[in-house]
Symmetry: C2
Subunit: 198 residues, 2 copies
DNA sequence: ACGATGGTTTACACTGTGTCAACTGCAACC
DNA sequence: GGTTGCAGTTGACACAGTGTAAACCATCGT
């Protein structure tokens, strides 16, 4: 059972987490806990002491994902955009750098979320946070009168969130080998035309 | 290794496949081959004889996915739409019924595609087919002069494909609990405004 | 000197995958 | 009618990876 959330030396915990991150990046979901331990120069049991079990480690990885990326600052810059079109473009630029950084891990976590209760909850929680930030953007647009009246705030926010989600990015940038610029250009064109008042 | 593609009685093979489909629907990726065998009233070894290994079974499931859904007819109806807006709406209607049917299985397959070479190839192949059908729609729009000149055919097709992909649908309909109608309305509004000439 | 804390080492039980070999049941076929 | 061959069964086994348990060691604060 995914036990103790805080146990032992934080430094050790962090080394295990980093090792796990690397291994997931390299091998996807097939990584073994013994490998994680070896990579972190720690016994396999230390992993169990810190994270309880495999799922517990993955849950910790979800947190780690956001911690390494200080989104606060970047988001502030997005919100500073002068008009709707450039706000959407800035959002898509942040989006692609975000996914580029976390994508190997995000892929595994999203896949594994249905195998474990706690992991699913942690992942959904992060996604709710994302949804909220996109909603804030839509609200800003609406307040400035830039959101087209065809859209309700709820629907626009959800649509933006869903379209900016992981898989869409992965299909375009990874599978179809799009450049960041092409992704940013196409997605912001899509969103600008769809959401903004003409 | 994922051996013989054709061995033994097709009826037995089909029963195993159906059993696997059911179990994936119920339990996601956690299903055991022994359960599949039991459900199909067949020995566990029969599963190995027919599909080689776990991955081989999943690959067969990918095919099974499209076989059970005769898309040809539905696609013809979509293409019969009189104008761009109704074509996009019909496409999104087909899209939501399609994903609704296959989503538990698609979820597992998409997640597992990175664990196995052959499975990944099979899945990518199906997705390439999807991409091609969406591209055909964009080409039809372009020929009728309904595609806005802001878009190249390639970019429009890829964007449409990516936006209509599995995850976007899942986030909206499953996670946010949208109705089919709301999905269809929002997505076709998004696409109509973004892609069609004003 | 002492006990608590953080970690190691060794050992083991359990589950699910994949493989093997020997056997059965049932056709079709000369 | 016996032979051949295919489809599937049965039972046994090796192997990997997860998770648990107990005994042990090192170090630090008091």
């Amino acid at each position: 059972m995914s036990s103790d959330s805080s146990y032992g030396d934080p430094a050790t915990r962090s080394r295990i987490l980093d090792a796990a991150w690397e291994l997931v990046t390299e091998q996807g979901g097939r990584f073994k806990l013994s490998e994680v331990a070896a990579r972190a120069s720690v016994s396999r049991q230390a992993v169990y002491l810190h994270f309880g079990d495999r799922a517990g480690l993955l849950v910790a990885l979800v947190q780690h994902m956001d911690d390494t990326l200080d989104l606060g600052e970047s988001l502030a810059r997005v919100h500073a955009a002068p008009d709707g079109a450039s706000l959407l473009e800035a959002a898509m630029r942040l989006n692609t750098t975000f996914w580029a950084k976390v994508f190997p891990v995000a892929q595994v976590l999203e896949a594994a979320q249905h195998e474990d209760e706690a992991l699913g909850a942690a992942w959904r929680d992060r996604m709710r946070f994302r949804h909220a930030t996109f909603r804030a953007m839509i609200e800003a647009l609406a307040e400035r009168g830039e959101l087209d009246e065809d859209w309700s705030i709820d629907d626009a926010a959800a649509t933006l969130y869903a379209v900016a989600h992981f898989d869409t990015w992965r299909e375009l940038v990874i599978e179809l080998d799009w450049s960041d610029d092409l992704y940013i250009a196409s997605m912001s064109r899509l969103l600008r035309r769809a959401l903004l008042r003409r």
